[in-house]
Every structure is written in structure tokens, then in C-alpha cells.
Amino acid sequence: MLGWELPPYNSGGLGVACYHMSKALAVQGATIDFVLPYKASHADIDFMTIHGASSLPPESKVHLGSYDSEYVTELDLDNVDAGSLNTMRAVQKHYIKFVEKLVKKVQPDVIHAHDWLTMEAGVRAKALTGAPLVVHVHATEFDRSGERYGNPIVHEIEQQALLMADRIIAVSNITKAIIVKEYGIPEQNVEVVHNALDVDSFAPYTYDTRNYEYFEALKREGYLVVALITRFTVQKGLTHFVRAAAKACEKYDKFVFILAGDGEQRDELISLAASLGIADKVYFTGFVRGKQWRDVYTIADVFVMSSVSEPFGLTALEAAHHNSALIISKQSGVGEVLNNILRYDYWDTDRLADQLAAIALSPSLATMLKQGVHDEYANLSWKDVAQKCISLYSRVHEGIAA
């Protein structure tokens, strides 16, 4: 299993998904060698063997920038100096060399590579061992770049690995469609396996009202709290969201919008909210972790996922777990596995404003959305994900053998 991060050293959903999937696979009887680009103990993980490909500390800037594909400037790794470990490409080169050595010692039955970060290593391991390669796509370069085109070098890396893969797993139909359309991969090579949510990972937890006392007070005054927890990048469609928020305020004046997270667009969003006259209703919490992060979910009446392109969107399931009503852009994969949600096109600010106002004006709508999605999200289990993966492994294995 070729990954790039695991909790707690993760900067996003990739690490969370890899962790739970591997754990569920181990329960199903799989023996996993999991390769990370950095060195960390991960003492809590006893269900698989973890290999650190470099001596980088887990907090390394390069590693935490794992979503910053835009800074990659070199396709040919022969031109990259692997010694310095101060660029993404250098770390990747180092990672590949480590994998080459590893597969000489441990012959894999299947190579499972996650996203562009590890795809080249996967292709290399396949070439050396003849083992089938499964490429698992959590996000493509198209998703990461929002409404822009993205980095052509990263496209190239993805394209080559997708062509070499024996089987491709996409985390949603949306992602599958991108793989087929943008990368020209035949539809039958791509299987959709939606992510899940591990409910047990949330317990035990008690909501601490002190964290957001001010919002609690507003709620008692009849305010509706709308929250987003996300990175502030173009992929997340936040400028559209802020415009919709301003429109919704024309119809209902007791809204509070919490934007939890951080990113390059923060200043732009702050000034946009001000220019639209809703600066006093939009709250920027900065990056939140742990209890504060959970408490945002708990305080939220409504959770919005406004992404321009979201392969899955695990945070929506976390919000469902914490009893929020969900409004999810039609461009977010998680919407494919939920019925009790409101959907809109990420650019359709009128529609989002209408939905926000509707929830504010109808107590029954808010209640039913919360209850409905809370009843259904728990049906999604990592066990199912693992079973689908294992069935896929055995099929590619037979395919190769024959």
C-alpha cells in the first residue's frame, strides 16, 4: 500500500481514508506493508507494517504540502536531486527508490497506490515485480485546481499511471467521469468505491459549550448557524458560497456563517464578505483541530460543502454524525451516497440562498434533514469498502495470472 500520510500527521482526507481502509482490509485478513514518505512511529497502528521512506520528520513542510501540486515544475525525475529532500519531486524520487528496494525484499500480491503522489512509485513497483497495480484516485489535478486547469506536469504523471494501472478505483461517480473524460481511460477499467465513516473514531466526546459560547447565545436568540470546515482554496467554491450567504441574508437576517479553516483565499473571502455587507455575520475561526474542530460541527445547524469539484468529501459525513443538516454541491461525490440532503450546483448562488432561507424559515425542514441524514450515513461502512477492494484484488490477480 503506497500512501502519503496517516493521522495524526495528515493535512486532509487522504490520510483518514487510507487509515480506515487499511484497518478494515487487515480485519478482512490482508497483510499490508504501508509506505509513507516520512519517518514516524505511529505507535497506535498494529494492524499493518509501516515503512518510512525517508528520515523526514512527519511535520515536514514538504509532506504537509501534499496537496500543493501547483509547485511541481519537473516531470523527469532524472533531473531531480533526491539528496536535498526540499522539494516535492525530490521526496517523491526518494520514495520511489525506497519502494524499489522494498519490493525486492517483499514480493507484493497487489500494489495499491493512492493519488498522484505515489502513482509513479506504483508503476515502478509493477515493472519490477509484475504484480498488478491498483491506482486509487481520491482526487485528480482537475479537482485540486477548482475552476482552473491545474498543473500540466501533474496531469502527465496521473495520465501515465492511469494508463499503466490494471484497475482504477475512483471514490465517486464524479471522479470516475473525470478519469474517463479528461484522461481518456476506458470506463470499464474504473470501479467506484465510495468512502465511509468510522463512527467509533468519534467516541468518546462531549460537546464543550465554552468553545463557542457566543454562538450558543446567538442560537438562543433564534440565529441559524451555518458552517463550513475546509481549506480556503479555489477547489472549495467559497466565493460562490459567500455571495449566496449575502443573498440569503436579504430574506432572513438571523444568519451566522462560520468558515473554519485556513488557506490562500482567506483575505479574499474576508474582503468579499465586507464588500457584500455581511462582514458581521461571517466568522473566520482559523485552522481548528481536536475539540474545537468537533465543536464546530456540533454548533452548526447547517453544514455546507460548496466545492467546485470534490471527489468525495468526508467532512460531510462527519457533519451528519454531529446532527447537522447538509447542503452539498452537485459536484461533490459524497452526495451520491446520501438521500436526505439538499443539492445545488456550486455556481448557483440563488439556489443555495433559497435553500439556506428555506431551512431558516421552516423548522420542520431543518429537523427532517438532520434526522434523515443522521439515520442514513451510518450505513456506509469501511468494511464494505474493504470487501470491495479484496474482491477487486482477486479479480486483477486472476487477470494477470491468466
Binding site: K251, A358, L365, M368
Partner: protein, 411 residues
């Protein structure tokens, strides 16, 4: 012994609420007119169903009536349908009139707006029944003598009302839990009534046609006329009540399934057998003796496995919508604004509430719930915004009323 069939078909098209947003409130009172390719375009939907179902079925019924002098049937035609047909397909309405002109097609009374007003406001219910009666008289020169409530929603109170109003027959679902050991194939006297008779739907034999006909997973598929007639022959009792949507023919069951030739063969076969008859529902009530008394204190409908009203008022959104809708009654009627009253009544159609049902989200049983909306939540949002606009119009009238009063007081 005589074998009888009472075939009753329900004809209805709702005015679906268009995507009506919070920003439309106060700006436009057009809740029903959308001109796109969606399933919410009422005009397009009407043409589609007319082509697939109404036209071929009306033509077939006309020729069956012409060649089989003993063939009779009953129809209920909602006011919403008549209004749509008049606007978009007046020749189709003429074709329905020709059916009725044969004298062997009964029209059953109901509420004009396909509403559940009986359970929310008796006065409004009676007003809608009267409106429907008047419309049927104008269009078809016919006065209904039998009654069916929307969604076949029935209880003892409805029977008493219909009896008191002078109807000869009333229709209900023949639900096992209510019938107990009894058969739906007999005519009954509803508890607490004097003259009226109750006909109960044989849902097994009706649903074999309406729901299961094209179901390839059904162990009786494909259903031949011969097999079905055998089932009818072996049924006990005085008659078999086959009650279903008119749109079963061509819309719910497409022409390709063979549904039209099935019903054609069925009518021809039955007509040619000795001592085999067709009844209209009033005809059955007149010719057949009540075999006993039947009581349904709790409301029974023809929907879902529950056969109650929960498909329309079971969840919190439906309850909220219904409450706001009927709370407006006095103000709306007092406005004497015909457009406002009509819009409010169009918003009473049971279809709106059915689209808000969330039961299937749990069951995953999407196929039993026809909805033109992406989700029940979407239908609720548009509906509630329309209700808010109605409320705004009511407020405008109230203010107007207030200022005239003040004015006259000043004088």
C-alpha cells in the same frame, strides 16, 4: 349465477409547483408555470401522458363500447384534469365527452382539486365537491350519483356524509385488515348510513394489472388474458371491483408491455360469455343487495402497505405544509379574489404532499413513489415559498380591507 366486474378508472393530472424560490415571493404569483424540459412543466407532462395514455385508451374504450353493448365502466375526472385538457387538448376533452355520451360511462363525484380537504376542513371539502359537480354538469351534462374521495381515502364519517348528501354509492379500498374474514367482492352497507352502498376495491386483482403487469420478476409474468379471466371466474361473491388509475394504461404500463391488447381482450372475452356482466358503480349499488354492514372508523386509502394517510401527512414537513395551507382558509376566502382562491385551492392537491414523502428514502423503494422532483425536500421548499406568497397576497387584501373600513368610519 351472474359474474360481474365493476371497472373504475381515475383520471387526474396535478398542477405541479415549479421551482419557486424565496426570491420569487412577492414578485410573481405564478406557482405552476415553468417552460423548460423538466418534469415540472405541466403542459409538457400533459402532452406526454395524453399521447401515451389518454388518447390510445379513450379510443380503445370508445371502440369497446361500440362493439360490446353490455360493456360499462366508471370514471372519476378531477377538475385539475378538466382544466388542463380544456387549455391544452380540447379535442381530448371532446373524446371523453363522446365516451360519456354512450350512456354507459358513469362519472363519479370527487373534490375538484384532488384534495384531502375532508380531513382538514369540511366546509372547504363541500365547496370543492360542489364545484366539481357543477363542472361535470357543464362539461359532460352529467350529475354524479357515486362518490370517491381523493386517494380513495375513506372512513365511516365520509360514508355518512355521502349518504346524507344523496349519493347512491361510495368507493373504498378493500383492505384485509378492515375486511377481516369478509370478501371485497360483495356490496356492503356502511355503518351508520341509510341508503348508500359501499364498493370495495379488490386490490389483488386490480394491482395485478396496475402494478405487476409488466414486472418480469413476478412469478405470474407474463399475464395473459386467459389466465386473468380464470382468476376472475374463480373469485367468490357478487362482483369484482377493479379500481385503478386511468394512466395505468399506457403511462404506468407502457404500450410495449401489451397492456392495451390485454384490456381489450379482457373486455371482449367477458362480454361474450353468458351471464357475465359489467357494472357501473352506481349500477352495482342499484342492482345488488348489500350483503352486510361494514365499518371503517379509521381512515383507509389506496396507497402504500400501510393504506393510511401517512404518505401525505406522515412527516413533519407534510404536517407543517398542511397546517399553513389550511390556516389560510378564512383569509383567502374573505378576499373574494378569484385568482387567489384558485391558487390556494390548486395548492391543496394531494400530489404536492405525496412528493414530500420521505418514507421511500428509508426503504430505498423509490419505484413506488412517482415524483417530478429531485427530492422531497426540494418539493417542500418550492411549496412553502408558494404558500408564503399566498400569505403575502392575503396580507395585502387585509390591509386593503382595513383601510376601506377606516375610510368609511371617517365618513
Amino acid at each position: 349465477m351472474t359474474k360481474g366486474i365493476a371497472l373504475y378508472l381515475h383520471v387526474h393530472q396535478p398542477y405541479r409547483v415549479r421551482p419557486y424560490s424565496v426570491f420569487d415571493i412577492g414578485n410573481t404569483h405564478d406557482y405552476f408555470g415553468v417552460k423548460d424540459d423538466s418534469k415540472l412543466n405541466n403542459e409538457k407532462m400533459f402532452y406526454k401522458v395524453a399521447e401515451k395514455s389518454y388518447w390510445p385508451m379513450v379510443s380503445l374504450l370508445q371502440s369497446l363500447l361500440e362493439r360490446n353493448p353490455g360493456f360499462k365502466l366508471s370514471l372519476s375526472i378531477s377538475g385539475d384534469f378538466i382544466d388542463q385538457a380544456e387549455e391544452w387538448a380540447s379535442d381530448l376533452l371532446e373524446a371523453f365527452k363522446r365516451l360519456v355520451a354512450t350512456g354507459r360511462v358513469e362519472i363519479v363525484g370527487e373534490t375538484y382539486y384532488h384534495s384531502l380537504a375532508f380531513f382538514y376542513n369540511r366546509q372547504e371539502f363541500e365547496a370543492q365537491v360542489a364545484l366539481h359537480r357543477k363542472r361535470i354538469q357543464e362539461v359532460f351534462d352529467y350529475t354524479p350519483t357515486a362518490f370517491r374521495n381523493t386517494e380513495l381515502a375513506y372512513n365511516d364519517d365520509l360514508a355518512k356524509w355521502a349518504d346524507h348528501t344523496g349519493y347512491h354509492a361510495v368507493l373504498a379500498e378493500g383492505w384485509d385488515k378492515v375486511l377481516d374474514w369478509r370478501s371485497p367482492n360483495y356490496v356492503y352497507k356502511p355503518t351508520g348510513t341509510e341508503n348508500i352502498k359501499l364498493l370495495t376495491k379488490n386490490y389483488k386483482l386490480s394491482d395485478d394489472i396496475a402494478f405487476r403487469f409488466s414486472d418480469q420478476a413476478w412469478n405470474e409474468w407474463p399475464l395473459s388474458t386467459g389466465k386473468y379471466v380464470d382468476w376472475l371466474e374463480s373469485a367468490d361473491g357478487q362482483l369484482v371491483n377493479l379500481f385503478m388509475d386511468f394512466e395505468t394504461f399506457g403511462e404506468h404500463q407502457w404500450a410495449e408491455t401489451g397492456i392495451f391488447s390485454f384490456i381489450e381482450n379482457l373486455v371482449d372475452t367477458w362480454s361474450n360469455r353468458e351471464n357475465h356482466v359489467f357494472y357501473t358503480v352506481t349500477g352495482a349499488a342499484a342492482e345488488l343487495e348489500a350483503s352486510g354492514e361494514l365499518s371503517m372508523p379509521d381512515t383507509v386509502t389506496w396507497a402504500d402497505s400501510e393504506r393510511d394517510l401517512s404518505a401525505w401527512n406522515g412527516n413533519a414537513m407534510q404536517k407543517e405544509a398542511l397546517k399553513y395551507l389550511y390556516d389560510l382558509q378564512n383569509d383567502v376566502l374573505r378576499s373574494f379574489d378569484d385568482d387567489l382562491i384558485r391558487d390556494w385551492r390548486l395548492l391543496q392537491s394531494s400530489d404536492h404532499f405525496y412528493y414530500m414523502a420521505t418514507k421511500w428514502l428509508r426503504d430505498g423503494d423509490v419505484h413506488t413513489y412517482f415524483s417530478p422532483y429531485d427530492s422531497p425536500y426540494d418539493s417542500f421548499i418550492s411549496y412553502m415559498n408558494a404558500i408564503r406568497d399566498v400569505r403575502l397576497r392575503v396580507m395585502a387584501h387585509n390591509k386593503g380591507l382595513l383601510s376601506t373600513q377606516n375610510h368609511s368610519e371617517a365618513e
